[in-house]
């Protein structure tokens, strides 16, 4: 019993540490900007004891929604990545695997081309993201009569290529002065235009996707052993996997609809979470949520403060993610197979 106690204790300590780090990073995100805020001003606004009017406006309307959105998106992409990696039994899988990001991107880009209002652009991103996954899963089911892993991944690649061609076509048709820059910027991911209303529209969907992942977290981990083994252990593997994929897809599509296409988080953060909390899904999921949130807030704060212009998030995450990916490949490629 001492053994499991000490493991549980060290797990609690690392989670508490990650939670504290997230709070620090968020405070940093609140403080840094064209109008810097002191810790006293931030606390004053958050607790409502001593509301400095300018600090209040900055936090409530601009920086607050942005930092909270970044945290939510980071957590969502990291959790979705962790879920996909577990159900597909492959540490190199990420939310892009089923064409979610590409599909959502296509929907949003189409919305920009049609000159729709922001809310409609988000709704289209969301709808197309879900639609792409439905298409990929439907196609792989039709081809093999079962949710075979390799077929599903290949279908994801095929549909992803098709959607990519659609995005290219939209770019070609877009007005080069007005729409094209907006489309390009959006495809690289940005939180620059996020308002409170956008956040309030996307947050419920993200949280809704998170509920089954958290509630079923221990059982989801068993899917990593493969279908036959999981089923022989008493798990309804097919049904559980569908729930997990639907939940992770909902989270990814909502995140893309809110902030555009931001790669690498869903691939990289689950690995960091495994280093912090071990490979068990029920333990690495909370760690992935905290690390993903903190990482994204950090990246977004850097994106809006390291240069005079806003640096797209996708560029920063790629610069950080690519080396990490290479290290992962070098360390563990021998074990990984589809």
């Amino acid at each position: 019993m001492r053994l499991s106690f000490s493991l549980a204790a060290s797990f609690a300590v690392s989670l508490a540490g990650l939670g504290f780090a997230l709070l620090l990073v968020m405070a940093l995100g609140f403080a840094i900007g064209p109008y810097p805020l002191t810790p006293g001003q931030i606390l004053g606004v958050l607790t409502g004891t001593e509301p400095d009017p300018r600090a209040y406006t900055v936090l409530r309307n601009i920086r607050g929604p942005r930092v909270v959105s970044a945290a939510l998106i980071g957590a969502a992409l990291a959790a979705a990545g962790a879920a996909y990696q577990t159900v597909f039994r492959n540490p190199l899988v990420s939310p892009d695997i089923l064409g979610v990001s590409a599909g959502a991107g296509f929907g949003a880009v189409l919305g920009i081309l049609l000159g729709l209002p922001v809310m409609m652009i988000q709704a289209m991103g969301f709808g197309f993201g879900l639609g792409t996954v439905a298409l990929v899963m439907g196609l792989s089911l039709a081809l093999r009569g079962g949710a075979q892993l390799l077929v599903m991944v290949l279908c994801g690649i095929v549909i992803g290529a098709l959607v990519g061609a659609g995005i290219s076509l939209v770019k070609l048709l877009a007005d080069p002065d007005e729409q094209l820059p907006a489309i390009t910027f959006w495809l690289m991911g940005s939180l620059a235009g996020v308002k409170r209303l956008d956040l309030m529209a996307a947050a419920p969907a993200i949280l809704l996707g998170l509920v089954p992942l958290i509630a079923l977290r221990w059982r989801i981990g068993l899917l990593a052993m493969g279908d036959d083994e999981a089923r022989a252990m008493g798990v309804e593997a097919g049904r559980l996997r569908l729930i997990v994929i639907a939940a992770a897809t909902l989270m990814t599509a909502s995140a893309v609809a809110l902030a555009g296409v931001i790669g690498w988080i869903g691939l990289m953060v689950p690995h960091m979470a495994r280093l912090a909390a071990g490979p068990r899904f029920d333990r690495m999921l909370p760690a992935a949520l905290l690390i993903g949130a903190g990482f994204m807030v950090l990246v977004d704060t850097a994106a809006r403060s390291i240069a005079l212009i806003e640096v797209p998030l996708g560029i920063l995450t790629a610069v950080l993610g690519a080396p990490v990916f290479v290290v992962l490949l070098a360390r563990g490629a021998r074990r990984w197979s589809l």
């Binding site: 019993m1 499991s4 990696q85 059982r219 036959d228 083994e229 022989a232 252990m233 490979p279 074990r335």
Partner: protein, 261 residues
């Protein structure tokens, strides 16, 4: 462990079973019984349908014809968790995509007894430790399974099956990829479990291994059952020659065991 009596019905029974994927039957006319204390050994050439038979018995794929009774109930009517409480599956190898500890793997056996939303608590953890102890591999608990030897991994999988608390074990070629010492360790564990009342059905490519380990044997080839019954009767040079389609001879070792070559 519940007391096991001879009068109790067998754990697993199959009658007139046809197995296969899709519509095409791989083997027809299988009858088998697995009761307390028995080790039933499944022999057959590659592609004969040994794994397909195991998957059918575990309810992972439906039989094409025939009836399977598990713990007194029709297998087709049992849910996944109920099946798992009767029969545990020990796959050929343990190759998880992530570096789980042996304890994490063994703890997974608790799934059959937990509801969907529940997570294992101290009781399940104690059970997992108990299973490791029963096999004498408590020292492996915190080790990364991807760094264990093939034999150690096999022992971890057996421990998981014990933690599952099932009445019987289905083992798919448990010793196929093991060296001599590891094979002896795993064989000894199987013998002990059977001696303690847990019946085991396993497949192997090695008739000597089958003769040394099993109480009963079932010989299958593409199409049908070649022989079935008590190991001493079934495992004969003449039947094995028919099974593998190549001449097999036998000798008796100084301690009275049959050896095939």
């Amino acid at each position: 462990m519940e007391p096991v009596t001879q009068t109790r019905q067998p754990l697993l029974q199959a009658q007139g079973l046809s197995i296969g994927h899709g519509r095409e039957a791989l083997i027809t006319g299988i009858d088998l019984t697995l009761a307390a204390g028995q080790v039933l050994c499944l022999l057959g050439p590659n592609g004969a349908g040994k794994t397909t038979l195991f998957r059918t018995l575990l309810g992972l794929i439906p039989p094409l014809a025939g009836k399977i009774t598990l713990g007194g109930s029709d297998l087709a009517l049992l849910g996944r968790a109920r099946i798992a409480r009767h029969l545990a599956y020990v796959p050929q190898s343990l190759q998880p995509p992530f570096a789980y500890s042996a304890f994490d793997i063994v703890l997974m056996g608790a799934a059959a007894r937990l509801s969907g939303l529940a997570r294992p608590g101290p009781r399940e953890e104690a059970k997992a430790h108990e299973a490791l102890e029963r096999l004498g591999i408590s020292d492996l608990a915190r080790r990364d399974v991807t760094r264990l030897s093939g034999g150690q991994r096999q022992m971890v999988l057996i421990a998981r099956a014990l933690a599952q608390g099932a009445g019987g074990l289905v083992m798919d070629e448990p010793t196929a990829s093991l060296d001599f010492a590891n094979r002896a360790q795993v064989s000894e564990a199987i013998r002990r479990l059977a001696g303690e009342g847990t019946p085991v059905i396993l497949s192997t490519h090695d008739p000597d291994h089958a003769a040394a380990l099993s109480s009963h044997a079932l010989l299958i080839n593409r199409g049908g059952v070649v022989a079935s019954g008590p190991a001493a009767q079934v495992l004969q040079a003449e039947t094995l020659s028919r099974l593998y389609g190549t001449p097999v001879r036998q000798a008796i070792s100084p301690d009275g065991r049959r050896l095939f070559y």
